[in-house]
Symmetry: C2
Subunit: 812 residues, 2 copies
């Protein structure tokens, strides 16, 4: 019987103990729910074990089993149990429910529910609701050519695969922001709960507005064990756990036990209480038009790991222990006694009472599910691309710098681009958000606050009026957790909206692994016909390495690009706009694109501008090109190609070109700038790649190339190792040399400063022989003078800081 929660629950066994009293279900409903739960568990075991004999009409034989047993049993029961109880409330209250499955490898629970509610067979007609369909449904699971053991993109209704743990809550919040009717029911594994990203994501309620956003209903599934360990949250006292969740800002309800009948009553009562509270909070805020932060309800569901499995096999614990995590009985192919245990266990679910002779779920159980798109796995949010509407885009050209004198005009491209972003926000108030870990202002993007402030549902102080820029209905999401920002953004775009993350360059490595997982998700989606395209994941990287001279070595790491470049060419794009107008063009392009991860690298400080808007668009369209105004090889073969990629890198390469042209006017220098990094790759290997023919027309096959790159230099070699004349390519970039420096000194340490580049060019042009020895020495002297001046005064000398392109006549 449901009763008050025990003071200290040390076990998941026995009759239900729960915070909410009451028995909302009549006996007949309990009987049906038990049957439905058995059907789900039966399907789960079928997925793990069977390739044939799906209804166990014949005695179970080794031939019916898969040759390789794969999959996970541990969390299936709890997830199924939760899902089916929400079905009852969907029918009762006409709810809009998405399900996020946090525990790793819990897919059988999810898949069984989708199959039972008929969605799976609608999406995949060969997995029909009959015996043959069930057999195929079983066989495909964790089978070559089939589907994985997570809630992969192939899973109807899933926006969260959960291959890597820790992001269920942040994804769930992303899905409900600006989705006022949606409740995302989120299973959180107690293993997953130990990860850092999950631990901090509980704070997401401080950024949820009950008027304009929906709600997340977490069910923390305490099943007690990870792969081979108890979980931390299952082994602290009831009081401590309760205190923790209250401290995170939630109102936890406990449902604990293993007895099916009482557990159904307890879960039904508790889930209904939670839904009612959510609706009440929303009603209160919406009717009063006063947003507030309630203590949102959540559930702690403590059930045995692998619930409904045999408690012991061969004197070793199975149900309720870590042995139930993966395949519960691993040797059924070779151990006839265990094969028998499996058969008895499966038959104990009484499939013949649940499915008719054709293998179809019987009508009285079918009636427990909602219909149409109310079925959880048919929720369109789960295929968010369906709901995606293109952004209303202002014309980015109108924000461009006009009257650019290439190499002379200095402006802040990032702060200017922020005006464009401001208007993107303003024109898409329910469809676009900007995310960042407390760096939006520092990154010169604060102009966006004019269209939408920072969302804040924590306490407000009087002092916030002095430039706090906080609002319950803001459009900028800032928490000092790159993980949470990225998770929110992913959830937001996966559910059909648009967004942009801005981050300091060195610390975007914090989310390497999350971005990897998102890349993998969208790549798989490309293979799935019914998955509609979602907005691209846009990442704006700024406060870049070359301007982290003063923050020192810990703040210098441009290697995120290497991580991204490992992902499939189908889904990744990297742009390094050299100036303000190209940044605008790139940003416009990225915000309009779908199904990519776009990485944009651009510094936030004032820099020399190079291209007017028309030139910028042309340059970005080509992705790379020769800058004729900076070159002096017109109509002839160059002696050297000075190439660059990245804004600061372009600046120094241009200064090096000027030095060469000043000191060695007869030397023919071709200046090449790259915006779209993957243009460097072969067209065979990347959709943006260029042909060898085009490569030759730009870089030639026999001219030395000095290439100044924003990031670690090896990436350029890796992208170009098969190019004709590849051996002529000399790449400079960040070589992990830094400290507290001036910008010039930092460049110098890494040999990316103008002098080092010019000297490299001189050394590479064989025809110069010794004729340039004097020039070389002069450049070295200037370099050293600049260094010691910086060293003495703590700032770079004027002639470096305020350098301008010295060839005005050639600029137009």
């Amino acid at each position: 019987m449901a009763s008050k929660s025990a003071e200290k629950s040390i076990s998941a066994y026995g009759e239900a103990r729960s915070t909410v009293e009451g028995k909302p279900l009549d006996a007949e409903t309990v009987r049906k729910m038990n049957a439905y739960f058995r059907a789900s568990m039966y399907l789960c075991l079928g997925m793990l074990y069977l390739r044939d004999n799906p209804l166990l009409e014949e005695p179970l034989k080794v031939d019916h089993l898969k040759a390789r047993l794969l999959g996970h049993w541990g969390s299936d029961a709890g997830q199924s149990f939760t899902w089916m109880h929400m079905n009852r409330l969907i029918k009762k209250y006409d709810l809009d429910i998405l399900f996020v499955s946090g525990p790793g490898h819990g897919a059988p629970g999810i898949l069984s529910q989708s199959y039972l509610e008929g969605v799976y067979s609608e999406v995949y007609p060969d997995k029909a609701e009959d015996k043959e369909g069930m057999q195929k449904f079983f066989k495909q699971f964790s089978f070559p050519g089939g589907i994985g053991s997570h809630a992969t993109p192939e899973t109807p209704g899933s926006i969260h695969e959960g291959g890597e743990l820790g992001y269920s809550i942040s994804h769930a919040f992303g899905s409900v922001y600006d989705n006022p009717n949606l409740i995302t029911l989120t299973m959180v594994g107690d293993g997953e709960s130990e990860t850092g990203p999950l631990a901090t994501s509980w704070h997401s309620t401080k950024f949820l507005n009950p008027i304009t956003d929906g709600a997340v209903l977490p069910v923390l599934h305490l099943n007690g064990y990870k792969i081979n360990n108890p979980t931390v949250l299952a082994r602290i006292s009831h009081d401590e756990l309760s205190s923790l969740l209250i401290g995170y800002g939630w109102k936890p309800y406990f449902v604990e036990g293993s007895d099916f009948d009482t557990m159904h009553q307890a879960m039904a009562a508790t889930l209904e209480q939670c839904v009612k509270e959510i609706k009440e909070h929303q009603k209160k805020a919406r009717e009063s038009k006063t947003p507030f932060r309630p203590r949102w309800p959540m559930i702690v569901l403590r059930t045995p790991k692998g619930w409904s499995a045999p408690r012991e096999v061969d004197n070793h614990l199975l149900e309720g222990f870590w042995r139930a995590h993966q395949i519960p009985l691993t040797d059924v192919r070779t151990n006839p006694a265990h094969l028998k245990v499996l058969e008895t266990w499966m038959k104990g679910y009484k499939p013949e009472e649940l499915f008719d002779k054709n293998g179809t779920l019987i009508q009285e159980l079918k009636e427990l599910t909602p219909t149409g798109n109310s079925r959880i796995s048919a929720n369109p949010v789960g295929n968010g691309g369906l709901l995606r509407r293109p952004l209303h885009m202002p014309d980015f050209r109108k924000y461009g710098f006009t009257d650019i004198v290439p190499g002379l005009t200095s402006k802040g491209g990032m702060a200017n681009m922020a005006k464009f972003l401001r208007d993107v926000v303003a024109k898409n108030m329910h469809n676009f958000r900007l995310f960042g870990p407390d760096e939006t202002e520092s990154n010169k993007l604060s102009e966006v606050y004019k269209a939408g402030k920072k969302v804040w549902m924590g306490d407000y102080f009087e002092e916030d009026k002095d430039g706090g820029n906080l609002a319950p209905d803001g459009r900028v999401m800032e928490i000092l957790s790159e993980h949470t920002c990225e998770g929110w953004l992913e959830g937001y775009i996966l559910s059909g909206r648009h967004g942009l993350l801005n981050s300091y360059e060195p610390f975007v490595h914090v989310i390497d692994s999350m971005v990897n997982q998102h890349c993998k998700w969208i790549e798989k989606c490309l293979e799935i016909e019914w998955r509609a395209r979602i907005a691209s994941l846009n990442i704006l990287i700024t406060a870049t390495v070359w301007r982290q001279d003063h923050n020192g070595f810990t703040h210098q790491d441009p290697g995120f690009l290497d991580v991204v470049a490992n992902k499939s060419p189908e889904v990744v794009r990297i742009y390094l706009p050299p100036d303000g107008n190209t940044l605008l063009s790139v940003m416009d392009h990225c915000l309009r694109s779908t199904n990519y991860v776009n990485v944009i690298v651009a510094d936030k400080q004032e820099h020399i501008q190079f291209l007017n808007m028309e030139e910028a668009i042309q340059h970005c369209t080509k992705g790379l090109g020769i800058w004729n105004w900076a070159s002096n090889d017109q109509g002839a073969d160059p002696d050297v190609v000075m190439a660059c990629c990245g804004d600061v890198s372009t600046h120094e390469a241009l200064a090096a070109t000027a030095l060469l042209r000043q000191h060695l006017p007869h030397l023919k220098v071709r200046f090449v700038n790259v915006v779209d990094l993957f243009r460097l790759m072969s067209a065979i290997h990347h959709p943006h790649g260029m042909s060898d023919k085009m490569w030759k027309s730009i870089f030639t096959t026999d001219t030395p190339i000095v290439f100044n790159f924003h990031s670690y230099p090896w990436l350029i070699h890796r992208l170009t190792y098969k190019r004709p004349g590849q051996h002529n390519l000399h790449v400079r970039g960040y070589k992990e040399k830094g400290n507290i420096d001036t910008p010039f000194e930092l460049a110098l340490r890494n040999e990316t400063d103008r002098y080092s580049l010019a000297i490299a060019a001189i050394d590479l042009v064989e025809s110069l022989g010794n004729t340039a020895a004097g020039v070389r020495e002069e450049l070295i002297n200037e370099q050293l003078a600049g260094k010691s001046e910086a060293f003495d005064n703590g700032i770079d000398p004027e002639y470096i800081r305020n350098w301008k392109w010295p060839f005005p006549k050639q600029m137009s």
Copy 2:
């Protein structure tokens, strides 16, 4: 006056409010502490602003200021305040205290304390305790050629730079494990607290044994603001925050306010209470020999951000607001009024009362500090290498597989190596720990439990007896947070001990950024004479991509190596032992090494063995080499080089070699295996690199090379792009192609299977012309047959799974 904490603190201002009552300080002590605090604050401002006139003996002029103002003021006061209060208790109770500074860029607070206690001048005699020394001390801060704005390696007593936020608590716990007398006083920033890694690291108490470990005393510094936002924890109610910390398992004491006199009393009383409780818990556990998990005490210190700065400047808030985060007044060089504000503010600390005319701290303040190594910044743990003792190493050769028949014997190299690890644990019970996120058993390392079980201070259940392997005094540290494991390990080795982290390959990307930061730390340490070498950070990566076929696409990412390869050659090493004996040799080498990040990649399953122990040692010593027994080019130029790196990759390359030799017996194949990845680099660029001469002797300059690599193929190109004959190199590796596969099918998708490799070789050997067309076709047919058999049955065919090297006569 100290009083009970307010029910809801909405401001940091006013007289102290604290949980602990009492006024332990007499008026004279309060006066001195105020003076000492002023001295510290004065030094902080000096570091931020001054390059001259350190004692403000002359009126402050622009010339006295640094040209570029850098550094952070926000958290300095709170950190100084906490440190100096611990000084009192060190003197009173003879405590062993390490200080970990969590808030970003709070170094002035730390540096000022080290300078005041005299340690800084002892370590850096030119920064002496006089006027000239003070001037140098000021100027070097955030100045080219000087020191950074974090607690960088140059900082005496620091093991935690804090450039990237989130690791203070896990580092602190790492330092106190097996350090029973140590208390690590840990300032935790409220910004930092929002990061995931920090949020979960509070749970570390569940892994702390009060008998054998020391204690961490966290001071959560609620100064209210990040760069440009309020912090979450400063804007929830007192009750919620208190509940959160209790839920995490701590006993929080609050100290809140801004009034100096009462704050000194409150902090003195509270800190003393915490120290007493720590000692009591330890005494109870140690005397009773019964480890238990107390609610360890901690402090919440709420003071205004930038405490002791002017509250307002030009009608904008400064103290207590985010404007106090970095340089509080930025325009003092150009705004005379603000220069005056600064001068008045600095003079308000009354430097003339604190320092004598020589610039030396006056005697009565000097007496507030402990002496010798009791001074916090002189604690030897803060230069942990001093305390490092080499491991007692068993002879790894004794664990080797004997009687290896190359290519025939199948064994589990990882499970075997675990025996070696077991004995390393047994011989170093207070000096070595194994860390991992719940994967030690799965990674076949459970043999180590015989020497040391898993540390567990959570609740114990009856069922744990059934193979739980939990113990309060275990040696294996498992929590499902790669961040926490890595942070603990870093803290453990930084404080002078040894350890190893084991992790699934795909999810080690979770700690990319942490490993980056650790690499940067040890690289800087190499430049600092007084920093003693610490044990290497050893990372064992297993459950590798080629055996993640069944877990699917999300579990396939071998790209951690790319991240590591970006770090300085001085500090990174990557090993891919091809079999069990080489794994032993590599592991032995890594555990003996210092100041590196060693990455070892080895699969955990049974594999064919290749080398006996003597051969293994030779092979590992060389780092790469020709395997003559597998080659048939003896005494002649090869037609093709089949090269490989990584265990599964070696297996398939060997099978490809066998196919070539069976089908084309006249083709001369040279077989090369690489263990030490950086051998491929030039000796100029990496200490392990080899000369071009050696490269040629192995790879030749004109022979096609098929290179089967464990990870993404581009890494090999990047390491070898300047090698002679580089254009002959054809690298195969993981190309981001995967799903639910069999191992063979996964290899096939990425063209790393034996057939693809053999076909590649055939296609590359020009001399073969069309003569091998038939063989080529045959190989393709076998390949397709294997694929479809796997597809039908879910497992690879026998002839692929159980393949053996077919040339027994050539093996010895």
